[in-house]
């Protein structure tokens, strides 16, 4: 058979650059899940239509064969991008070369943008982001605190490149690192470089990636596997999804380097089926890489073969655990198995296998490209590099962020996040209560941790963990017992049911938390909850079970008084737990209409017509029907 010619990356990059130069302007519409949900795709179509209607040249695809021959660049390139992170302000529209970022762009705004900006060169002020701290309009990302304070490296190209255009990825330096790894580096050197860089797994535990690879590299045998773990399942976390949607080639390139490092010839990307866009873009990336010959039977002219499969997971949280993920790929029920043997020794189909998280893999090409020393310049000594977080909750700017390890919580919440918001959504300088970090495996941090530099070890020390990077900000109206209960309900539903401590333990922790929240707890409840949580943490089979009690343990550690108030005073300081509250009628507001008394299923409300009514608390079921019925807002929980 004919051998595939060695791919000329330089030529592809140059041709793309030339084609790009031929176009004067690029309008990028964020096509991350958040913006798409807000109508970004319709906005895209409207732009194409309106620009054309205005008689201006517009293209939606770059023809890289067409060299830049015209003297003067002309026309507009309309392109999609992956998630730009500022999801709350979507749909986002970026205009280059001006560097304008329009936010919350609706269909009705398109005409104005075309007329004003494209034709007359004026900025549509009202569509610019307004900095809530000073009311100033920001022209582009360079002026927006949300972006300025971040260090976007892994996410750098997310939001700029067209995720479905391999040439653009190559134009930005993509696949040069993979080529270097395959043609100029020995597997041992790659493992060493990654070890030197200090890269740690971004999926949760923070295990040194280089050591994992080395362990698989030294295993004998010529059949090995590399798996990308894209089974992101934490509630509120969407970092991996954004990387897969926004820059799928960076993940694929990371996988190719990993494959070279351990001597694998088959790769899997395991993505949950609930991420259809990520699945589509990863598939497209694999297909394009195959077409170009990056994947196939002669990788970079080495004569070696490398294939990549994309596998959709059915969305079980536990399949994010590596041994369960392997079982799932093998077609078995996704349940973790005891380690050792570790996957690096005996993994998929019993062969040496490494499993890395999406973000970890997307970081790998950067390290190979710039070298370990350069990579170590950001982040901390033991946690080098950057980390993406999904910033959500009671915070002004929610979205996807990337910061160097060692950044403080204060920086993230108050500067990037723009501060804590109150129940009405307004920034409240004094509103901070806690941050839940690391999802169901993580824990809560408080005021006292605001200046803690975030890294793998400091978080573990504080009873939380980086986890996959969910970061939920909570204001003072949050009941911490309820927060613990929320996560416990999640882990209980998602427990695979294999080991006794996790399966039965989460069920009982949930029951104990319910007792506390609903006013049935006694002094023994707290002690039992704590002992059970410790036993589950120490004794469970897999990482998910071992970390399942973290939300309980960390809230017990930092908010014990709140638990005690629930247990002993039968009161919820945040006034969220309805089981501990009573319903009362404000005699000032009550008009005596009697509607509440008619709605009450147990006749607990009485009163004369046109006179203030009363609730008999001994009869009241706390169903809340009266509160909903009252037209005068006279009934409230307290």
């Amino acid at each position: 058979m004919t051998s595939t010619p060695v791919i000329d990356l330089e030529r592809i990059a140059e041709e793309y650059g030339n084609a790009r130069k031929a176009l004067a302007r690029r309008i990028t519409i964020c096509a991350g899940t958040g913006c798409v949900a807000n109508g970004a795709l319709k906005v895209f179509d409207a732009f194409v239509e309106k620009i054309a209607a205005a008689g201006l040249p517009v293209v939606t695809e770059l023809k890289s064969e067409a060299p830049a021959a015209t003297a003067k660049p002309d026309g507009t390139l309309m392109s999609h991008s992956g998630c730009q992170g500022f999801c709350q302000m979507g749909p986002l529209v970026t205009l280059e070369p001006e560097g304008i970022l329009y936010t919350r762009v609706q269909l009705a705004d398109v005409d104005e943008i075309v007329n004003e900006t494209l034709i007359n060169g004026r900025i549509v002020d009202r569509l610019l982001y307004e900095d809530p701290s000073n009311g100033k309009r920001c022209k582009g990302t360079a002026d927006i605190p949300f972006y300025v304070r971040q260090a976007r490296t892994v996410l750098r190209e997310c939001g700029h490149v067209d995720p479905e255009n391999i040439a653009e990825y190559i134009h930005h330096g993509g696949y040069f690192a993979a080529r270097r790894a395959w043609t100029a580096m020995q597997p041992k050197d790659i493992c060493e470089e990654i070890t030197l860089s200090g890269l740690r797994g971004r999926g949760g535990g923070g295990f040194p990636t280089g050591r994992k690879w080395e362990a698989a590299r030294v295993q004998p045998g010529d059949k090995k596997y590399v798996i990308c773990n894209g089974d992101e399942g934490d509630p509120g976390a969407f970092m991996d999804r954004s990387v897969m949607e926004g820059n799928p080639h960076s993940v694929l390139e990371g996988l190719m380097i990993a494959a070279r490092a351990i001597g694998a010839d088959e790769m899997y990307v395991y993505v949950r089926a609930e991420y259809p866009l990520a699945v589509k873009r990863i598939r497209r990336a694999v297909q394009d890489a195959e077409q170009l010959g990056l994947l196939g039977d002669n990788v970079f002219g080495t004569g070696q073969s490398l294939r990549c499969h994309v596998m959709e997971g059915a969305g079980a949280f536990v399949c994010g655990e590596e041994t369960a993920l392997i079982a799932s790929i093998e077609g078995q029920r996704g349940m973790p198995r005891p380690k050792p043997p570790f996957p690096a020794q005996s993994g998929l189909w019993g062969k040496p296998t490494i499993i890395n998280n999406v973000e970890t893999l997307a970081t790998v090409p950067l390290i190979i490209r710039q070298g370990a020393a350069e990579f170590r310049k950001i982040g901390t000594e033991k946690s080098p590099g950057t980390k993406t977080f999904a910033l959500t909750g009671h915070v002004a700017n929610t979205g996807l962020i990337e910061v160097p390890f060692g950044t403080t919580l204060r920086e993230i919440v108050f500067n990037i996040g723009g501060g804590v918001t109150n129940a009405k959504g307004q920034v409240d300088g004094d509103g901070f209560r806690a941050v839940q970090i690391g999802g169901p495996s993580g824990g809560c941090l408080t005021q006292e941790h605001l200046d803690l530099p975030l890294d793998f070890d400091s978080l573990t020390g504080a009873g939380a963990m980086v986890g996959s990077g969910g970061l939920v900000v909570m204001n003072k109206s949050t009941c911490m017992v309820n927060v613990a209960r929320f996560f416990m309900q999640f882990t209980q539903n998602e427990s695979c049911g294999k080991c006794v401590l996790c399966r039965e333990g989460t069920k009982q922790m949930l029951a104990l938390l319910d007792d506390i929240i609903e006013g049935r707890a006694t002094g023994e409840t707290l002690e039992l909850l704590e002992r059970l949580a410790v036993a589950v943490k120490k004794g469970s089979l897999c990482g998910l079970g071992k970390t399942a009690p973290n939300p309980v343990l960390s809230t017990l550690r930092y908010f014990r008084a709140e638990y005690e108030a629930h247990v002993h005073q039968k009161s919820c300081p945040a006034r969220q737990c309805k089981g501990l509250l009573g319903l009362t009628i404000d005699p000032e507001k009550c008009k005596g209409c009697g509607l509440c008394a008619r709605k009450c299923p147990v006749n607990a409300i009485s009163g004369e017509k046109k006179q203030p009514h009363r609730i008999d608390s001994s009869k009241c079921l706390k169903c809340g029907a009266c509160e909903e019925a009252c037209k005068f807002k006279a009934i409230s929980w307290n």
Binding site: A316, P340, E494, C496, V500, E504, A535, G539
Partner: protein, 669 residues
């Protein structure tokens, strides 16, 4: 000087000798670490979290999944570990149907045992158990999900040892359960009723189905003559239920106990095992000489027979047509005993005492019934017999042994070793070698076929020709040899298959056991019993010779066939080829009716019957061929019928008839 690798366990040094994990080293040191999910025969599962130990420098590890390494310092009972273990057991109890006194597993329940061992006096957690219906559909086993601790032992034994996977885990979180596929009843799935799941089940979630009640009622009925047959393996298993060492031969005490409980006659299944050898060996010699249906598979294990009917229907001609010793006994007894004992056939009750749960299934098969009356009326497992003895208040260990009744109580050693893996093969050799060579054997011991391996092979020179034998136990091993036969690559002449590990002595009706040692001792017990007998070859059993002379006539003859042989049928739900229901001929008009599940639900079967009748009524059999066929994969449009080259969706009888008329009109005659 060579230094040995050791582990320090609670301050004591213990040598590592290739144990597969730390748990086995600890158990070797005499410390019985608690476990639910660890079995030496099964893969390591690591779910019960009870074998946790403290390893210096590593913290808390599950001993089952930690390899033993030189220099390890291990503590097995620290406060921390005690706390976790107690919490684990309390958690299980909080989600358990605690009707312990009435549980069939009561005396052997490991959860109960552990709660007692760990001194748990109170469960601190809330009861969270939701009652679930109990599955009593199977003739052999009862599945009570309320007692399940989800240790997965049953799941692994079924898939790893038996290669079936009739049950598995389903759902997540608090809904996790072990179920047959799609939550069906056990009787509707591919369970072969071997009961190995019940043997490994630490609680009462899977138990043999009891027939004790019915047997007591028969014993109390003065009109009935109740006859027992005792399988070989029972005599080396029952003693364990009364504290005797596994392998102790207690045949005489069993006879005494049965007589004391009111059984009129007690015979030995080993008698019909001798008979099986003679019939099966002759069948084998005939096949070998005709080079037809070789290799021959044994057929005395009902678990294996159902397995073969399910998965290897095309190999059924390779199975010996001999009934199992249990069913030979039933047929003979129901045929001969009424006259001999002067009792009405309907008043004769045959009760088998078996080490096996699948025998319960076998005894109720229609092919082992005559005029709606079963040849074997009841099957009691060794465990059930033990319970009856306890209920009767008999002090088993002090019973004076009594003799079996004649003639069906007389056997040779060949019929006794039927109870362990390799025994049938050896018994057949004791007969066949003499028959083929005409020379009397010096030694009757064929050591080559003995042993513990799940797949053993032996080659013997007999009368100038080589006989290649395979002895298999565990159906996963049987699947391997059967696949070879199917592929036409089997090197063997005779293959003995026993579903249970170690053969019948490891049957699920025996007292429950957790490691290999009881199996070894039971096997030794049977070989010992063989030695103690005067005769070792079935051809030396003069009662058998008499039986042939007076009743059966020729070996393998017509009468022998009627009483001692049987037939098998495919249990495949889906046939590999379409079934021709009216004789098939390619030149005819073909009508195919899909009888896949969806079409079946939509009435395909009735449609098929009506079409066949219609074709017959119109006398079109010569020109029209009606077939049932499997799924056309157009399930949403069913019932699907093809008439000639016309495909009809949502077909009705009228639509099919119309298409038939049109097709017949243009069909060239």
């Amino acid at each position: 000087m060579r230094t040995k690798a050791t582990v320090t366990i609670d301050g004591r040094e213990v040598a590592i000798n290739g144990e597969r994990n730390l748990l086995e080293v600890i158990r070797k040191a005499g410390i019985e670490l608690p476990t639910f999910c660890y079995h030496s025969d099964l893969s390591v599962y690591g779910a019960c979290r009870l074998c946790l130990v403290q390893v210096e420098g590593r913290g808390i590890c599950a001993a089952c999944s930690t390899p033993a390494q030189d220099g390890m310092k291990v503590r097995t009972t620290t406060e921390e570990i005690r706390e976790i273990r107690r919490i684990a057991v309390e958690l299980l109890l909080a989600n358990h149907d605690q009707s312990c006194p009435t549980c069939p597993k009561a005396s052997a329940c490991q959860l109960q045992n552990l709660a007692r061992r760990l001194g748990i006096e109170k469960v601190r957690f809330k009861p969270v158990h939701d009652p679930e219906p109990v599955d009593r559909s199977s003739p052999s086993l009862v599945r009570d999900p309320n007692k399940c601790v989800l240790c997965g032992d049953c799941v692994r034994v079924c898939s790893e040892i038996q290669g079936i996977g009739a049950i598995d885990f389903a759902y997540r979180g608090h809904q996790v359960a072990v179920l047959p596929a799609f939550g069906k009843d056990l009787k509707d799935v591919e369970c072969v009723y071997c009961g190995q799941c019940a043997n490994v089940c630490p609680t009462g979630a899977l138990t043999p189905r009891s027939e004790v009640e019915q047997v007591w009622k028969e014993l109390d009925n003065p009109r009935k003559v109740v006859v027992a047959q005792i399988a070989p393996a029972v005599r080396v298993g029952l003693g364990e239920a009364f504290g005797l060492e596994p392998g102790t031969v207690v045949t005489g005490k069993i006879v005494a106990a049965l007589k004391a409980m009111g059984f009129n006659y007690v015979y030995d299944t080993s008698f019909t095992a001798d008979l099986t050898v003679i019939e099966e060996a002759n069948e084998f010699i005939a096949r070998k000489q005709a080079a037809k249906n070789i290799p021959q598979f044994t057929s005395c294990c009902p678990g294996w027979v159902k397995f073969a009917e399910q998965y290897f229907p095309d190999l059924l001609p390779h199975l010996s047509s001999c009934k199992s010793p249990q069913q030979m006994f039933g047929a003979l007894a129901k045929d001969l005993l009424p006259a001999k004992l002067n009792v009405d056939r309907k008043d004769l009750v045959i009760v088998s005492i078996m080490p096996c749960t699948a025998k319960k299934f076998e005894a109720q098969l229609p092919r082992f019934q005559k005029d709606g009356v079963r040849d074997v009326d009841y099957v009691l497992t060794t465990q059930e017999l033990a319970r009856m003895i306890e209920e009767a208040g008999l002090k088993f260990n002090t019973l004076r042994p009594e003799s079996l009744d004649m003639p069906f109580g007389f056997k040779t050693g060949a019929g006794v070793i039927f109870g362990n893996s390799g025994g049938v093969t050896e018994a057949v050799l004791r007969y066949a070698v003499e028959k083929l060579t005409g020379v009397t054997l010096d030694s009757v011991d064929f050591e080559a076929v003995r042993g513990e391996e799940g797949l053993r092979e032996a080659t013997l020179e007999v009368g100038g020709q080589k006989l290649r034998l395979a002895v298999v136990h565990g159906l996963a091993n049987a699947r391997k040899v059967a696949e070879q036969v199917k592929a036409g690559q089997s090197p063997y002449d005779l293959i003995e298959v026993m579903a249970c590990p170690g053969g019948c002595i490891g049957g699920a009706g025996q007292p429950v056991y957790r490691d290999r040692q009881p199996r070894r001792l039971r096997t030794e017990g049977l070989y010992e019993a063989d030695k103690m007998l005067e005769l070792h070859k079935p051809q030396e059993n003069h009662f058998i010779s008499e039986l042939y002379r007076e009743e059966l006539g020729e070996i393998g003859g017509e009468r022998a066939h009627e009483l001692l042989h049987t037939h098998y049928h495919s249990r495949r739900r889906i046939a590999d080829t379409s079934l021709s229901l009216v004789d098939g001929d390619r030149s005819k008009l073909n009508i195919s009716v899909c009888v896949g599940t969806n079409c079946m639900v939509r009435g395909a079967q009735t449609l098929l019957h009506n079409l066949i009748r219609h074709v017959e009524e119109r006398g079109l059999q010569d020109v029209v061929d009606v077939k049932a066929s499997f799924c056309f994969e157009q399930c949403d449009k069913g019932p699907t019928v093809v008439v000639g080259d016309k495909l009809i969706h949502k077909c009705t009888f009228q639509a099919a008839c119309q298409a038939l008329d049109e097709a017949v009109a243009v069909e060239p005659k």
